[in-house]
């Protein structure tokens, strides 16, 4: 687990800091012991008949009387030397004589014992040459402190390892618990993949329910698309067979087949175009679709159409409410408005109007209202019915109103919207659409 590495690093650094702190503390306590013994030794020193100095009997720390006790002392002058009985049988070296007034702290080894040695030199006031100066030395074994240190270290490591393990276990358990919905998601996606279930279940925590519902939208959209492609292919194959049969028949008939074949080619072209467009319409991009500004699409189409119909005295009015948006594919909106406006431009005398408004009180798939109207001759009632009728194929289209309107109807259906045709106050046809948007 990746968390254990920084955790171990953190504990390692903590241990180093604690360890060095403990060492400083123990050194300080050794120093204090040495100082105390030094003061006692200097106070107890008395001149001896032989000219040297030694402490008075029974004035010393009992440890100095006990051999190998871990505490040792020495008083040294240039001519004489006294050592505490505790040094008996040990090869000891307290270091050389010091000049008057000097202090020293060194480390050495007495036998197998590591010791800290404090030395201090004392000079008499009536002896400026220092010929009688004395060097007092106290040595204390370090082993008790070292033992303490090792004990402390063992404890430290023990605690830290225990703590770390506890932390890791807690963390692992926590992660497992937190990630359990993700594992469920994974399992459910796998089930969908295997075809054992249609969509993901509900009841995900708040943080994940968005993801789950978006995935569901994607799944549903994908399934719709697949079935649409399948339908399209089927329709395409079936509807192409008829014109092909007619062409073969007229070719075998012997007479001039060209006009008949040419007519059938037109019909086939129409069918292909219709089915392709139907399949290409994305049909309600439910996932991640940025709302499309109607204003922008309308303005682009307007300038394009004014170019195409440059020799017609034409006015295209755009009455698009600011903020009117279509929720879906931009290309689909372009096709819808392009076909309707093109149709209106074709049939109008001089005026075409596009109105777009949002209606927040309508159903979710009908919140955008679009209206395209013109001042042309309008569409007769029967033709309106034929345009709106489902199942009327492209090759049975209303003459003059082209493939475009069938395409509009199919796209509106795909988005679950509504399409109505009536007569505009301007005199011509009025197409009213309701689509997802705002």
């Amino acid at each position: 687990m990746s968390v254990s590495v920084p955790l171990a690093l953190f504990f390692g650094v903590m241990m180093l800091v604690l360890d060095s702190g403990f060492r400083v503390l123990s050194q300080r306590s050794v120093g204090e012991v040495l100082d105390r013994q030094m003061v006692a030794l200097i106070a107890a020193a008395e001149p001896q008949p032989n000219g040297g100095y030694a402490p008075a009997p029974h004035t010393l720390d009992p440890r100095l009387e006990t051999p190998r006790s871990g505490l040792y002392a020495q008083i040294r002058s240039p001519q004489h030397e006294w050592r505490s009985p505790s040094t008996a049988g040990l090869d000891v070296d307290f270091g050389g004589l010091l000049a008057g007034g000097q202090r020293d702290l060194t480390y050495g080894t007495f036998g197998h014992d590591r010791v800290a040695i404090a030395s201090r030199s004392i000079q008499f006031e009536d002896d400026p040459s220092g010929a009688r100066s004395l060097t007092f030395s106290i040595a204390a074994s370090l082993s008790p402190y070292e033992e303490q240190l090792w004990h402390f270290r063992r404890q430290l490591v023990g605690w830290f390892i225990g703590l770390m393990l506890a932390l890791l276990v807690t963390l692992a358990a926590l992660l497992r618990w937190v990630l359990s919905p993700m594992r469920r998601l994974e399992r459910e996606i796998y089930q969908v993949e295997e075809g054992r279930s249609e969509t993901l279940g509900g009841g995900y925590p708040r943080e994940l329910s968005g993801v789950a519902s978006n995935l569901n939208a994607l799944l549903i959209g994908e399934r719709k698309r697949v079935s649409r492609y399948r339908d399209t292919l089927g329709n395409l194959a079936h509807s192409l067979k008829t014109p092909l049969a007619v062409m073969r028949a007229s070719l075998q008939g012997g007479e001039d087949a060209a006009p008949r074949v040419s007519a059938e080619i037109d019909r086939m072209t129409g069918i292909i175009e219709h089915q392709l467009k139907r399949a290409a319409a994305s049909g309600g991009a439910l996932l991640g679709a940025a709302p499309v500004e109607v204003t922008q699409v309308a303005a682009e189409l307007r300038s394009a159409l004014l170019r195409v119909y440059a020799d017609k005295d034409l006015a295209i009015e755009l009455a698009v409410a600011p903020g009117a948006q279509f929720i879906g594919d931009r290309g689909d909106l372009m096709e819808l408005l392009g076909n309707l406006l093109d149709n209106a431009c074709k049939w109008c005398r001089s005026r075409v109007r596009l109105t777009a408004t949002g209606d927040e009180h309508a159903g979710p798939r009908e919140r955008l209202s679009l209206m395209v109207e013109d001042d042309g001759p309008g569409i007769s009632a029967e033709d309106r019915a034929r345009v709106l009728q489902r199942g009327v194929r492209a090759d049975e289209r209303v003459p003059g109103h082209g493939l475009g309107l069938a395409m509009v109807r199919d796209t509106v259906d795909l988005y679950g919207g509504r399409l109505a045709i009536d007569t505009s106050p301007m005199g011509g046809a009025r197409f009213s659409l309701r689509l997802p948007g705002r």
């Binding site: 467009k277 290409a280 394009a304 096709e335």
Partner: protein, 228 residues
């Protein structure tokens, strides 16, 4: 009228060339965008037909470059992807109209003629100047309602002069519009043709529809009838 066809599909290009020539156009062809760009800048064109899906320089980019180079003649785009997004892009790039593939040749021809009329400032396919009427769709000419029988070259010259009625058009421009790039050019031919046109249109020498401006060219002198 001189037209450039930029289309990468050989069969379609050849058909367009053959049928446009038949319909009285002088036709230049190019098979990709770069060739098209060269031809479009090199020849004195009246109109261009450009396929959007071209190898090399694509159709949209070609149109943008032509417009940036201040080529103002009308451009008709051909597109296999018949959706509004593509049409809008093409028109925004500077094209004037579009035809979706597969198309009927008659449709392309009608669009071309409409574009040429528009470029000349005519609103209807019938160009009327006083007693003289030229129908660009039927390619027929009448004077006071009586049909006048013209040869192809005579018709082409008259159409060119009438589309831009009022403008002075040089002899070399007329020659270029009549012949393909490789044809031998002889300006006497134009003089002969204009002379024949004058005799056919105006045997009594009362109308004087075509003026000669010495050293500059010809001008169609009859005023346009603006009301349809």
């Amino acid at each position: 009228m001189r037209v450039l066809v930029v289309e990468d599909e050989a069969a379609l290009r050849d058909t367009l060339k053959a049928r446009l020539s038949e319909a009285g156009f002088t036709v230049d062809v190019a098979s990709d965008g770069n060739e098209g760009l060269f031809a479009a800048q090199e020849y004195p064109l009246d109109v261009a037909i450009i396929d959007l899906g071209l190898p090399g320089l694509n159709g949209l980019e070609l149109i943008r470059r032509l417009r940036a180079a201040r080529k103002t003649y009308p451009i008709l785009i051909l597109t296999a992807r018949d959706n509004w997004q593509d049409k809008v892009e093409g028109l925004q790039a500077g094209a004037d109209d579009y035809v979706a593939k597969p198309f009927h040749f008659e449709e392309v021809l009608a669009r071309l003629q409409a574009l040429l009329r528009r470029a000349g400032g005519w609103a209807s396919p019938q160009l009327k100047c006083g007693p003289l009427t030229l129908d660009t769709r039927a390619q027929s000419v009448t004077v006071n309602g009586k049909p006048v029988d013209l040869t192809t070259f005579e018709y082409r010259i008259l159409e060119h002069l009438m589309l831009r009625a009022g403008d002075v058009i040089s002899k070399s421009e007329l020659t270029e519009r009549l012949y393909d790039q490789d044809f031998e050019r002889d300006s006497n031919v134009i003089e002969v043709l204009v002379g024949r046109l004058r005799r056919k249109l105006d045997p009594g020498e009362q109308l004087r529809p075509i003026e000669t401006l010495r050293g500059r060219g010809y001008r169609f002198a009859l005023p346009r009838d603006t009301a349809p």
